[in-house]
Symmetry: C2
Subunit: 208 residues, 2 copies
């Protein structure tokens, strides 16, 4: 049964999170403030404090919503799909302020006194699903450890997007993701699998 | 001819940079202040403003000194040496506050309104020297593009150390660096070269 009061609270929380992500993307953590976020969200102080008590709590919630902000359409699993996800995420980082803000906060969290690897762990779990299905399909080399590869890829991808952000404001991110795959795939998949993989952005960043 | 006045200025600048790195490592950018750095360095306001006009200028100078802070002993070039460098840097990140602070500032520079990829570029140039000598020694696969690989490795390594910092305060960084190499080497070097490479930290992090 839907409780209208609870439904409203859920909706308000979402509105606040989106506004917070936009403000963090524009101002960074230190330039953001609860009052800027309240104004952007159009909520009262009472509503804000019902959901979030501090700027730090807001920042952590925005980081934690990272996967909600990425709407990768469901599809087949396996290696090609994992590669497509990395290009899709590159496109989202270029165009979606919510994704950008949450990734930025996850990277810069040390600056506001937080060390929380939940979001890194969630991405690793996500990648692990793709790698396990790739294993079932016979797409992986025998020596690959799926857990280890997932952990490694989360770190390597995170640094790739950061480097691209600092060098070109992420304009060259798709090319950098392609480079990463060019050198990782020979250690991941046998030649007859690799020769069928598409290592390039999907048209308009949209997943097939 | 050594000019004693100029010599003193160079020395003071170095003292200030080291103090600034220590303060940034401890407090982060937003928690650091010129007065904290002056106190740590034991210099007068006059000396400070002769060298640096703002906290941001100091942060940029600390970032730029990254390679000075890393004293990797000279030795042979080639692939093994490049791998050794990545483990040496991991050890430095664990134990040397100057290196840690400069890397942290380079990662979090977005937070203080700077986007400066000089330090990323310097590391890429450094790696390129190793890759070119590896090419001359016949250690690389024909399809490897040394420029592209250097760029890719700077990003992937930067993200690896960041992930390790957030997950375990860099306790597991050497293992993560080993994982990165385990999956990158098959795309970089032929089997007969790989079988002779040592993919592990040097004793006490000291370069051979």
């Amino acid at each position: 049964m839907a409780d209208p009061k609870q439904e409203r609270a859920v909706k308000t929380r979402k509105v606040i999170l989106h506004a917070a992500a936009e403000v963090f993307d524009q101002w960074g953590y230190s330039g953001a403030s609860i009052s800027k976020i309240m104004a952007r969200a159009g909520v009262t102080q009472g509503a804000m404090y019902f959901h979030f008590k501090s700027k730090q709590e807001l920042a952590q919630a925005v980081m934690a919503s990272q996967q909600e902000f990425v709407e990768f359409p469901p599809g087949e699993f396996g290696l090609q799909r994992m590669i497509d996800l990395t290009f899709y995420l590159a496109h989202e980082l270029q165009t979606n302020v919510l994704v950008r803000a949450s990734v930025r906060l996850a990277v810069e969290q040390g600056e506001f006194g937080v060390r929380d690897d939940t979001v890194y762990q969630e991405w690793a779990d996500q990648l692990l699903l793709y790698l396990r299905s790739a294993r079932e399909r016979g797409e992986l080399l025998p020596e690959v450890d799926e857990q280890e590869f997932a952990q490694m890829l989360v770190g390597a991808y995170g640094g790739t997007q950061l480097h691209s952000h600092i060098s070109t404001n992420r304009a060259d991110l798709p090319q950098r993701v392609a480079s990463l795959w060019r050198y990782l795939l020979p250690g991941l998949a046998p030649e007859h699998v690799r020769s069928h993989l598409r290592i390039e952005p999907l048209p308009n960043g949209v997943a097939a």
